[in-house]
Amino acid sequence: MPTEYFEDIKIGSSNEFGSKTVSLEEIVKFATEYDPQPFHIDEEAAKDSIYEGIIASGWHTASMTMRMMVDHMISGRAGLGSPGVDNLRWFKPVRPGDTLRVRSEVLSKKQSKSRPEMGTIFGVTQVFNQHDDMVMSFGTIGMTLLRPGSKSAD
């Protein structure tokens, strides 16, 4: 059962969570399936690229971030999925052996007019490596139920 509904999510609140160390094997496996560019799958070719070594596919970084969000944030929420993300940026490469963590902040929220039993939470998610470098950020949009029987979030 969810413990967190639309009303419980406070604007300006933030969470920090997750600790995911990514291995060379995982990077190559993901990219072989979904993003087989030389700098993601071929150590020799990657050395000669602008990245000077193998880096994770940005989709892999986003997917690892999603897993941390599901485990630590979304699983307790009365969530209904997401229509998308905005302004996703890969600032720095993620390399084998890096350990990622997530910071997520609630920026605003809006109850649906047409479906008042639900609302949208807008936030920003930032991902850092073990050196506290921000490697990725994106704007999040999450659909969330109001408490059962609740008519207004106010």
Binding site: Y34, D35, Q37, S49, S57, G58, R67, S75, W90
Partner: protein, 153 residues
């Protein structure tokens, strides 16, 4: 096929490509690792949910789009990766058994502000299923190297 460089992309260029069958096994496998919400991994629970059956993680759909971009658009190119995407929208759920394809349009091009040997191409991508229903849209940029001086005529 000749290698594609920054200069080979012009605003308004449209490409259509890809033919990716989505299997239930792959949907569950991806989501078990990266997005284990019940409507992605649990067939019984998914039936009772909002979506009425198992659907692919949006990050899985994005990753399948990426694979089609690599295979059909940038495999023989000077791609140096991507700085990110401006907007990604999951328009309708992707379900097992569907077959995905892509329409790509060049929205803008810009030389790198500091490095004269490369430039950014902004693409608008739309992912459709076999019935031409829109599944996902994405606006994202790819950094390409310019044509090497020796090859430029």
């Amino acid at each position: 096929m000749t290698k594609k460089y920054f200069e080979d992309f012009g605003v308004g260029q449209i490409e259509e490509f890809g033919n990716r069958k989505v299997t239930e096994e792959e949907v569950i496998e991806f989501a078990t690792e990266f997005d284990p919400q019940s409507f992605h991994v649990d067939k019984a629970a998914a039936k009772d949910h909002f979506f009425g059956g198992i659907i692919a993680s949006g990050w899985h759909t994005g990753s399948m789009l990426m694979r089609m971009i690599v295979d059909f658009q940038i495999s023989n190119s000077s791609s140096m990766g991507s700085p990110g995407m401006d907007e990604l929208r999951w328009i309708s759920p992707v379900r097992p058994g569907e077959t995905l394809k892509v329409k790509s349009e060049v929205l803008s091009t810009a030389k790198h502000p500091r490095k004269s040997d490369r430039g950014f191409v902004k693409f608008g991508y739309t992912v459709f299923n076999q019935d031409d229903q829109t599944k996902m849209t994405m606006t994202s940029s790819i950094l390409f190297g310019c044509t090497p001086i020796a090859e430029a005529s």
